[in-house]
Symmetry: D2
Subunit: 128 residues, 4 copies
């Protein structure tokens, strides 16, 4: 697609979409979402969101991560769950959060690298 | 596409993508980007970003707008330009910003409505 | 006061508190709040918040501005009105916002410079 | 002090400053900072920042927490370490972060409750 026709959504890389890039670049930009496969409705659980093995310098770092939830059957998705701003050299692009859901769906994370743009990932989660 | 296979980028609505929705909903969620068609390199200009005719209540509002730039020829886009958080009832989802660019490209805006999710728009801008 | 006894509130500089610093440093860090002296209740008006004559480089810039409102007679203040993140070199630390108030009070702004910390200012506003 | 003369820093509550308020209100608004008493220079460690026993509803919640560092001997403090936005009912006001320091000082946290304003706390940390 011509670059200038691209919408923002079409610029958000995923590990699969960026198949033409070096593996190291794909691995060091794709957010990692660690959550239970299944949780109980309306009970708090921990989610770890991180970007691993990426430089953390002022001129090149993961500036922030946003965390969303796509809820099964909701007319419009996603729901924002949290957003974390990081400071190069002082804080690593990683956070453990406490989340509570009432329906099944997917947790999604998007990170912004000031050199390599926006990258997202997702994990299905079952609510029982 | 099956909902659970969707990446975050595929959930970001645009006026055209949401063609099946009521016109009022599409119009009241699509960010409006007002910028000059052409600007001089490295000279500051004003951009107005807004979402118009949307409710502004605690239970339903535009929570924030992010502003990005897709620079022609840059290997990875976009570059984040600014982000504005709003407070329901007190602040309208609108901001005039001062921006400086050195190459042509597109200004992109994405807003988050806590009920209707993520919506984006774009405007081409020529840098001379 | 011993540095290690200081609370966060005691680290937020104002033009007056920083009287021992060079005038240029105080002027280039104090947020400027431009709003009408008096507005009508529940009518939208424009506020310009800026930090002027400050460097705008990756290694030294105004990273963000937060805007608050202290409402006369409210048991707990302030109310957050908006927050703007800026990107060094691309966006200037300035925003014009649309705000709506129902009681008199003060608009307050706080900016964060990654080298010189937190600085705040305030302007009284009358709601009629 | 007359309310309208107050600077933003003078509106940031601490557990001690708010001594006239009900104990429950003070306890449910003061950020809790859990970090090692001593860490090694330039080695990553975990900090848990939370606000406990506070309502988490759309009309009353901890909207965000900012985390700062006051570094001993730095001419201007603080340094921002991270900022976390939360979503009422979905995410609890709590995050575990990974931080790296090179000098001793204090970790500070400030939270914003949309009903009860700004509250801060601090913990001294020794870097060896």
């Amino acid at each position: 697609m011509a670059e200038e026709k691209k919408n923002l959504g079409e610029m958000i890389n995923t590990f699969d979409m960026a198949a033409g890039e070096a593996l190291g670049k794909r691995e060091s930009h794709t957010p990692k979402i660690e959550a239970p496969k299944a949780v109980k409705a309306d009970e708090t659980f921990e989610v770890r969101i991180s970007v691993q093995n990426h430089p953390n310098k002022m001129e090149h770092s993961i500036r922030w991560i946003e965390v969303y939830f796509r809820e099964d059957g909701r007319p419009f998705n996603p729901i924002m769950l949290a957003r974390i701003d990081f400071t190069p050299t002082y804080s690593e692009p990683e956070a453990k959060l406490k989340v509570k859901l009432s329906k099944s769906g997917s947790i999604l994370a998007m990170e912004y690298c000031n050199v390599h743009g926006l990258w997202s990932a997702k994990e299905v989660i079952k609510v029982e």
